[in-house]
């Protein structure tokens, strides 16, 4: 007898306009990846804009990252683990398209090919009008050497790399996301 055909994946659908029902997928502390008193904690913030350059007030931004030493707490990471590290943040955009997270800069990571990834944060963008998520990455402006050697960033058209690098400011780092138009953020096929 032939083996059963493995199941195909369930299609994505939009998060729609009403994900922010009370008690729903948003958590009060969703934006706080780390506690305020953690050494090196900063605010990563920005705004989400559409193709007209208008703010998107009904988006959800999620982030996922390693800890300061470049460690995760996950069974598929064969390296020593960072016990209790969550590394996950979720923040709805506000009326001005703004979002923020309190987090730390992740450490660099080894790749299976023997290269080193510069410190980066993976980002998921969800919103009404988007039938699937888009994915991007945040890199840091004070990591020039590491960024130049990063296998993902260095594969991006040099003219567009700046859209993936946050800007330092008085709160921490600013990272704006433009879904479309001039200075459209680089998004990835994962």
């Amino acid at each position: 007898m032939a083996a059963p055909t493995p199941p195909a994946t369930t299609p994505s659908q939009t998060v729609g306009p009403f994900y922010a029902v009370p008690g729903g997928i948003l958590w009060d502390d969703g934006a706080e990846v780390v506690a305020a008193d953690r050494a090196g904690a900063f605010v990563l913030h920005g705004w989400l804009a559409d193709g007209n350059g208008d703010p998107i007030p009904d988006g959800v931004i999620e982030i996922w990252q390693a800890d300061e030493q470049g460690r995760f707490d996950h069974p598929d990471d064969p390296r020593p683990e960072s016990s209790g590290w969550q590394g996950f943040g979720r923040c709805p955009t506000d009326a001005d398209g703004g979002f923020w997270f309190r987090t730390v800069k992740p450490g660099p990571l080894p790749t299976p090919e023997g290269a080193t990834e510069a410190p980066h944060i993976d980002v998921t963008v969800l919103a009404r009008g988007m039938l699937n998520r888009v994915v991007t990455r945040v890199y840091f402006p004070d990591e020039e050497q590491a960024n130049a050697a990063d296998p993902v960033l260095s594969a991006v058209d040099p003219a567009r790399r700046a859209t993936l690098v946050a800007a330092a400011d008085d709160r921490g780092y600013r990272f704006d996301i433009r879904l479309q138009g001039d200075d459209e953020t680089v998004f990835f096929a994962l």
């Binding site: 195909a8 080894p110 990834e117 699937n132």
Partner: protein, 248 residues
């Protein structure tokens, strides 16, 4: 979880998830008007699946209260509408269950109204129904919710537009790569033909994977009807065989 592995000169062996872009709607779907200014026009950049992509937040039971899976007991009284059980399995595309993973849902009430300040549809709110739930899959990937069948509701995408009844699902799986937001529909809905969100999935077989099935075996007599909905997240990369037959 072990999946298909790639040889690594650095000795770092990571799982590899199949790329499933064919399953999903295109971000640029003109019939869904809100998509017009919200899809990237530049081509997507290839992203290898490195450490950040094959790991993810292992959200589970700590996020769930005792009654979070039952949307009918979260208030002082019983919500109005048709009580239903929605259950199924979370699997990966290799057929393996995804255990201990968070499943979050949100939906309209029986009248087609969300408890959301942005919902202007003048159907009645139900003080006994807030319309959100969460639970964690068991060791075999099973999940179960008790809820109310949501109503259809009008929207302004096109003339006389109505969304078919649906429940929103959010899953993180075990890796950033597996993240999925989808909607579960009900079998035989007469509103499918005119819904650009449902029809944004062009392939009929793929569309059918978003439709639950009525399941008599799991109904509770004189108490609730029951719908089955299995959710399949990205799983191990398929091996490519050289003598693979063409699929007609």
């Amino acid at each position: 979880m072990t999946t298909h592995e790639t040889r690594s000169p650095a000795g770092l062996i990571l799982p590899a998830y199949g790329r499933d872009a064919d399953s999903h709607p295109k971000l640029n779907t003109p019939e869904y008007r809100s998509s017009a200014l919200r899809y990237p026009k530049q081509p997507l950049q290839y992203l290898p699946q490195y450490l950040t992509e094959v790991t993810g937040p292992l959200l589970g039971q700590e996020r769930c209260g005792e009654h979070d899976h039952d949307l009918t007991v979260q208030h002082n009284g019983e919500p109005l509408g048709e009580r239903i059980i929605v259950s199924g399995r979370v699997l990966d595309s290799g057929g393996k269950p995804v255990p201990n993973t968070l499943v979050e849902i949100w939906q309209a009430n029986a009248s087609g109204r969300y408890l959301h300040q942005g919902d202007r549809h003048p159907a009645p709110l139900d003080p006994n129904f807030s319309g959100t739930g969460r639970c964690t899959t068991d060791a075999n990937g099973n999940y179960k919710f008790i809820t109310i069948k949501p109503g259809a509701y009008p929207w302004r995408n096109h003339d006389n537009a109505w969304r078919p009844a649906h429940i929103h699902f959010s899953l993180c799986g075990q890796a950033f790569t597996q993240r999925l937001i989808t909607q579960m529909y009900f079998p035989g809905d007469p509103l499918f033909y005119q819904d650009p969100i449902y029809n944004s999935v062009r392939d009929e077989k793929a569309r059918n994977r978003m439709v639950s099935s009525f399941d008599l075996d799991t109904t509770v007599p004189e108490w609730a009807l029951s719908y089955k909905f299995d959710i399949v997240l990205r799983g191990p990369e398929e091996s490519v065989f050289e003598d693979e037959e063409e699929d007609d």
